[in-house]
């Protein structure tokens, strides 16, 4: 290749290219990627937060709508970051234009980071949109900005990784909706979005602790409200542990060429 850049520099440019391509993709089809979560979460806030919430009263010393806003934002971030990577990477695989990247010298780590950039970007943008909408219903003051931002970014990274692994194993379009429908959605709803686990009987409180989404929702709620059912240190440890596990698995799968190279 004429005027060949160094390996490090080439990978950096490739990362920028994939990230740009992925961001451009979800912005181009904003009616499918940004609008639906905004509408769904607005309905949650109107129905659960405003209409029903006004009859529920306080939860852990906060009005019900204040209590659920962090969880609702987190739900939008989780589903959006997962959906972005799983649909984009599987689409590239299915239509075979992933081969554009596979034949190039782009490293596996860069491929992964590039797709994560798209997932995290969409997750955060949706999160900001839902946060802005929630301001119409309640006046939120962020308790700790660093915790709020770090938890939402780490969560978006984690679920982007999940979407990436799902896309690697997926062989048909049905396969990319099974995990969100049967695993992600139930875990999110049972992850303390709409309630405090203190309300649960002791046994179900312990069962809830096995749900990783509980840690993310509570850590994020701590960042915004200053209240969490879970120790914040434990929440960070759980999130980072899952990121390390899923990140390692995704790189191993890429290296082995699972679902990509025959």
């Amino acid at each position: 290749m004429n005027g060949r850049p160094s390996q490090w520099r080439a990978n950096l440019v490739s990362l920028q290219t994939i990230a740009y391509k992925e961001t451009n993709r979800f912005l181009r089809i904003w009616q499918q990627t940004l609008l639906p979560p905004a509408i769904t979460m607005t309905l949650y806030l109107v129905i659960f937060g405003n209409l029903i919430g006004s009859r529920i009263g306080e939860m852990q010393g906060y009005s019900y709508i204040e209590f659920i806003v962090p969880g609702v934002i987190m739900t939008a971030v989780i589903t959006s970051s997962y959906a972005n990577v799983v649909s984009s990477f599987f689409g590239a695989k299915f239509q075979r234009f992933i081969e554009e990247i596979l034949v190039s010298p782009t490293s596996n780590l860069v491929v992964l980071l590039g797709y994560l950039a798209g997932g995290v970007g969409r997750g955060l943008l949706v999160g900001v949109i839902v946060l802005a909408i929630s301001q119409l219903f309640t006046d939120l003051q962020i308790h700790n900005l660093a915790i709020t931002v770090s938890v939402v970014v780490l969560t978006a990274v984690l679920f982007s990784l999940g979407g990436f692994i799902n896309a690697i194993f997926a062989r048909k379009f049905d396969d990319i909706s099974i995990v969100p429908t049967f695993i992600l959605t139930p875990l999110t709803y049972l992850g303390g979005v709409f309630y405090s686990i203190d309300l649960l009987p002791a046994f179900w409180q312990k069962v809830s602790l096995a749900n990783p989404i509980l840690y993310m929702v509570n850590a994020f709620r701590y960042g915004i409200l200053g209240h969490s059912d879970i120790d914040i240190g434990v929440a960070y440890a759980v999130i980072l542990l899952f990121i390390a596990l899923l990140g390692g698995l995704a790189l191993l799968l890429l290296r082995a060429g699972v679902g990509l190279r025959s």
Partner: protein
């Protein structure tokens, strides 16, 4: 240093199919090389392995001296691939596809845009640069894949059936373009089903069949092996074809005669016999593409090595 070196390359798929049975191949820098073979012979598998899209079972691949196992980044940087199937995002524009591909090879966007302009103009796609790729015609899509493969200016360009489904005029303009690319120093490996294409473009050829290389030589020496020539004669007059026991002669219809002669024979005695029978020869043409004829014979006979292995 070879442009491409395949050493005992084997591929066995998970379903047990042995697509490559230990092929050895060497392509010299600057060559225009043809890789021929029937469907399912193993051509696309070999190309897939070279392009890192298929995992080899065993053997070694080197691209310009860079081993695919140990110097992957360098090896891939030297390679451009035009695959058989369209494999770009139909929603992206022509320019986006080419510029993004440059990015995957580490080229900054400014340089990528300059090169995109050069190659899209050279391949008559510049006017379509803002069009979504899915709206292009089949021939344009093929040219887009060539532009995309050239954007990082690879030293080795592999084209897998690049002119499949392309009309004759466009095919010839693509041949001219590929000749120019080759003349500028890019080594080209081409697989094609159009043997006229291989005969016209390639200097050296390997024929692969059933996962083995059965011939690997220059086009000239390959054609020298052709011991017979077949001609179609357009004839007029005479009611009966005279006997020509030394030649294979077949009357296809009232006005067409199919004549085959060996390298030791000539057409003079055929013309003389026909003239004596009152038959005029109005015109004459080669019956078939010579390489095609040889190709079919080779596949029917198998390689010398294969014949030796047979009990």
């Amino acid at each position: 240093m070879s442009a491409l070196l395949l050493d005992k390359l084997c591929k066995r798929y998970d379903n047990g199919v042995e697509a490559l049975k230990g092929i050895d191949l060497e392509v010299q820098p600057g060559d225009f090389f043809g890789l021929l073979g029937p469907n399912g012979a193993g051509k696309s598998t070999a190309i897939g392995i070279i392009a890192s899209l298929v995992r080899k079972t065993s053997g070694r691949v080197e691209i310009f001296g860079h081993d695919l196992d140990t110097r992957l980044w360098e090896a891939k940087s030297c390679l451009g691939l035009v695959p058989q199937e369209f494999n770009f995002n139909g929603f992206e524009t022509v320019e986006q596809i080419v510029v993004n591909q440059a990015g995957f090879y580490g080229l900054p966007r400014k340089i990528a845009r300059q090169r995109a302009e050069r190659y899209l103009k050279a391949l008559s796609l510049w006017d379509k640069r803002q069009h979504a790729s899915r709206t292009l015609s089949g021939g344009m899509k093929r040219r887009l894949m060539i532009a995309r493969a050239l954007i990082h200016e690879p030293k080795l360009l592999i084209l897998d059936e690049p002119t499949a489904g392309v009309d004759i005029e466009l095919r010839r303009s693509m041949w001219d373009f590929l000749r120019d690319i080759n003349a500028s120093g890019t080594t080209i490996i081409l697989t094609t089903h159009y043997l006229e294409e291989a005969e016209t473009l390639c200097r050296n050829i390997a024929i692969i069949d059933d996962g083995r290389i059965i011939e690997n030589t220059s086009v000239k020496s390959l054609l020298r092996k052709l011991s017979t020539h077949a001609f179609l004669l357009d004839i007029k007059g005479g009611s009966k074809i005279p006997p020509l026991p030394a030649h294979r002669v077949e009357r296809l219809d009232d006005n067409t005669l199919d004549v085959e002669i060996t390298a030791e024979q000539n057409l003079t005695e055929v013309f003389a016999a026909l003239a004596q029978a009152g038959i005029q020869v109005l015109s004459m043409k080669n019956k078939a593409n010579r390489l095609e004829e040889l190709f079919i014979r080779m596949l029917e006979k198998g390689s010398p090595q294969q014949q030796e292995q047979q009990p």
